[in-house]
């Protein structure tokens, strides 16, 4: 199985260097369409999505993160850096189990 990337042009180009096929998405519509075509491919193992693109289709991404076991979705920051208001892993866990680590 392979990696597939959905993101802005530079990110897709960058991951292209190491042989990851990618789809460029700049609008929510494009993102949704790209995501759908990517998950239809049985060869897709891990979908790499930039945070900005993931935000355009939050509900679809969340569904695949939590409910479906396959394919896996991972979010990475794009070249403008991560979003400042993004909850970290620790905060997410804290809210889930109600105690501070």
């Amino acid at each position: 199985m392979k990696y597939v990337i959905i993101g802005d042009e530079e990110t897709v180009l960058g991951f292209g260097i190491v042989g990851v096929t990618g789809k460029v998405a700049t609008t929510p519509d494009e993102a949704r369409r790209a995501f759908r075509s990517v998950i239809e491919d049985r060869q897709t193992g891990i979908v790499i999505v930039t945070e900005r693109v993931a935000d355009m289709m939050r509900s679809v991404v969340d569904k695949y993160l939590f409910a479906e076991s396959f394919p896996l979705v991972v979010e990475i920051p794009d070249r403008h850096g991560g979003k400042p208001d993004r909850p970290g892993i620790k905060e997410m866990v804290n809210t889930a189990i109600g105690i501070k680590l």
Partner: protein, 206 residues
């Protein structure tokens, strides 16, 4: 605490008692499940945070290098060179079950056939970018495995806690209260009957 609405009869008492028993068993099991999930979660959360920091740092470097590459060679030429790069990343995804939660285990195998392009006419930066992105990709499999595991475990913990609380704070007290009420009523009517019998006996003896 609210009492359940049912008639104070022996049948209902027996039914409610077995229900209470069942609820308590369920509560114990869910409590154990919650503890196991939290232990599992605490085990990987530090690792996940560590990995994320590392990958983000590497990504930043890779993006910077990519920018330089594009400045140096132009997008078109970069795309042209990319076409000749021959790296294959093959992922195997297995899954590991922890208390009914599917956690992925990812193994990535790289097959690499270098050199890819002539060093003539290509920039130093593209080699650099290639190395950077390769390093990122190597770590990305592990990162996604950890991150998804954390997300799924946290979600399951949240659900389990809600169930445990519902049982502990509502279902079990309600059932206990109702069982107590029915027991009281049954005893009361028993005593009533006893007194009645005594009276009847006394009357008969006169």
């Amino acid at each position: 605490m609210t009492q359940l609405n049912c008639a104070p009869t022996k049948t209902n008492l027996l039914r409610l008692r077995s229900e209470l028993n069942f609820a308590q068993q369920g509560y114990e099991l869910l409590d154990q499940k919650r503890n196991i999930l939290i232990i599992e979660l605490l085990g990987i959360v530090d690792q996940a945070v560590d990995f994320q920091d590392r990958v983000e740092k590497m990504l930043k470097k890779a993006y910077k290098s990519m920018e330089e590459t594009i400045f140096d060679m132009g997008k078109l030429k970069v795309q042209y060179v990319i076409g000749s790069v021959n790296i294959d990343a093959d992922i195997t995804i297995r899954s590991r079950k922890v208390m009914g939660v599917d956690l992925p285990v990812i193994e990535t195998k790289f097959t690499d056939h270098s050199p890819y392009y002539s060093p003539m006419g290509t920039s130093f930066w593209i080699d650099n970018s290639l190395q950077c992105f390769k390093k990122v990709l190597e770590q990305l499999g592990k990162l996604s495995e950890l991150k998804i595991s954390v997300l799924r475990l946290a979600n399951e913990v949240k659900k389990t806690i809600r169930k445990v609380n519902a049982l502990e704070k509502i279902a079990i007290p309600d059932l206990k209260e109702t069982v107590h009420y029915i027991e009281g009523r049954l005893e009361e009517s028993e005593r009533d009957m006893f007194v009645l019998m005594k009276l009847v006996k006394e009357r008969l003896e006169i």
